[in-house]
Symmetry: C2
């Protein structure tokens, strides 16, 4: 029972929670930098926030220069805008990319960092309010900011307790028109977070309890994910499930599933959640030999064996991409360098990671 | 899925966690007021904290004037000492009484309050580090301070987000010599917290997940509770289980079980946990008619039906106290005024509360 647990984000969930909790924005200052992707103008989240800002007499600037898998360069642009505007706080609206970028922006707005990836982050960070518009990353409840590191050709995370948002608003209505592929990929990301949290050496009774609840909620929406038909309740369930899974990895970190997946995203532009989905079942299959008791707990939480889980994830993923053997060796080599290799209760060396990649996405034809 | 959730306490669990995490005390300032009961000198907690203080070159004063069910008067004395000493932070060591008192002291050290129970608490509160030496109250992870209100002849809680401790250290070794009666009463309090959280109108997926985990851990130690024999692991389990149950009520609040129990403690000096244990089974029995689905979830989490649970709790409680019918009517009347009457998914009017009391502790002979 040696563990530590810290989850300081205030989570507010429900229909119209932003509009209905305008007072929550009040203590954070007069000037907000809103960090977002291009789609938040369509999903209604930006206009809800703008409405609250007007209501409270606050001013804001919108920075929508964040693309998928944001680079250190784009967060520096956002931070420069935050400084010139004199922002008191940051509101992040969007999926993982804007939400993660917002954390780095909130930090760089107050701290100079030569190399953002090796910077030692102090507590002087603009306070943040996060509003997810996809249900997957969990960034709204984590201390992680995953950015693209072009020098090392991978995604890397910066992490510090000061990067937790103050508030996370969870309103599934912003996901009403989310494309099916994004919905499925992000849901798989959330499922992977909950499962990887249970595999972590840092798993503890609290993160395990949250992981099981997240899997119950997320797998409970499998029929929606499979059919592509979502009620308002399904959307809210997926969002809450993804946030609960985010709370898990805030405590546990991720495993080599993420470590390997980063290469699929960096080199082949495969969406992050899909990358995890391609790898997770084969990884669990290999884990079953090394840590059978944990895999049996995960099966119980999923309500099915690993083989059935694999089939269900495969059905969601559809046709898989093809990879050369050279690619797999390269990805295994890179994943073996990632620090999350030491975060899994089962250790995998480079050869074993290659075997997982081979089973998961190798050319079996 | 309309809910909010906030649990900002950093929980650090494990053997010797205070000594091994001295650095955690560092940012809180140079001068500590240590609030404790009389027994912390014997259980080793005070000497661990003193050791860390010396190591870090901090000074401290010990205020051990806190008795069971502390009054507003005793917290005022503690606050006066905090002011005269110039305390930068508060370290609370003990069971529910010192931990709850420490919160009011940390508040009164910085804010003047004519009537502590109707005072509107601002964020200017000394930061707190809580170290429980009983496994029950969960005060180390809640925003509540339960004090005795002699004017209204009951226990009343003050509550504010600023009353959450910053840190909770969980080390079961401080409970090594805890008497069996205290161990059992506090464990029953924790079980009651988890169950009452599931009964609350504010229950949500996160608090339910935590409640189920707490019940799994706590009921998993039933054999220890029943035999009075505790390994170091059992002690740690009971402590972690009680803290997880505390996280539940931090989100949900309690129900009329606590509302009725306060009278048993105020008028008959029955320990708080025992009071809840005397009332909880009969309350669940009546709830089964009003909210069968929730009771069935609770049964699943307990791993047994309500009838079996009643027998197990009764076995721990031993011979019950006797009450007159006048007492029961008075307690029902008082509980019907308590605000937690509206916090339960099943509403109980005064007559129904009387019926619960009658079934639980009435004179059936």
């Amino acid at each position: 029972m040696e563990f530590s647990y810290y989850m300081p984000v205030r989570v507010i969930s429900g229909a119209d929670c932003v509009l209905r909790n305008a007072n929550v924005f009040d203590p954070f200052g007069k000037r907000a930098l809103i960090v977002t992707g291009k789609s938040s103008e369509k999903n209604g989240a930006l206009s809800d926030v703008a409405c609250v800002m007007h209501q409270l007499g606050k001013t804001y600037k919108v920075f929508d220069g964040i693309s998928s898998n944001p680079s250190a360069q784009s967060v520096r642009e956002g931070a420069a805008l935050a400084r010139s505007f004199g922002a008191d706080f940051v509101v992040a609206i969007g999926g993982g990319s804007p939400m993660d970028a917002a954390k780095a922006i909130a930090m760089l707005a107050r701290q100079d960092a030569e190399d953002i990836f090796s910077h030692s982050i102090s507590e002087d960070v603009l306070p943040m309010i996060h509003i997810p518009t996809t249900a997957g990353t969990g960034s709204e409840v984590t201390q992680y900011s995953v950015l693209t590191n072009d020098r090392q050709k991978t995604k890397m995370s910066i992490s510090a307790p000061f990067l937790f948002p103050k508030i996370a608003f969870l309103d599934g209505k912003y996901m009403r028109d989310l494309p099916q592929s994004v919905t499925v990929n992000t849901a798989i990301d959330a499922i992977s977070h909950a499962v990887e949290g249970m595999l972590s050496v840092r798993a503890n009774p609290i993160t395990d309890a949250l992981a099981k609840e997240a899997l119950k909620i997320l797998m409970g929406e499998y029929a929606s994910l499979s059919s592509g038909k979502y009620s308002a309740e399904s959307r809210q369930n997926l969002l809450v499930g993804a946030s609960v899974a985010g709370m898990v990895i805030a405590g546990t970190g991720t495993t080599p599933v993420h470590g390997m997946g980063y290469s699929l995203t960096y080199f082949r532009n495969i969406p992050h959640g899909r990358a995890n989905g391609l790898l997770l079942p084969a990884f669990l299959h290999k884990c079953a030999e090394k840590i059978p008791a944990i895999i049996s707990n995960i099966s119980a939480a999923l309500g099915m064996g690993i083989a059935d889980f694999s089939k269900k994830i495969s059905a969601l993923l559809g046709e898989k991409e093809h990879f050369t053997d050279t690619e797999l060796h390269d990805y295994a080599h890179r994943a073996a360098q990632n620090r999350n290799i030491h975060n899994c209760a089962a250790f995998f060396n480079e050869k074993e990671l290659y075997n997982v990649l081979q089973e998961a996405i190798g050319n079996h034809g």
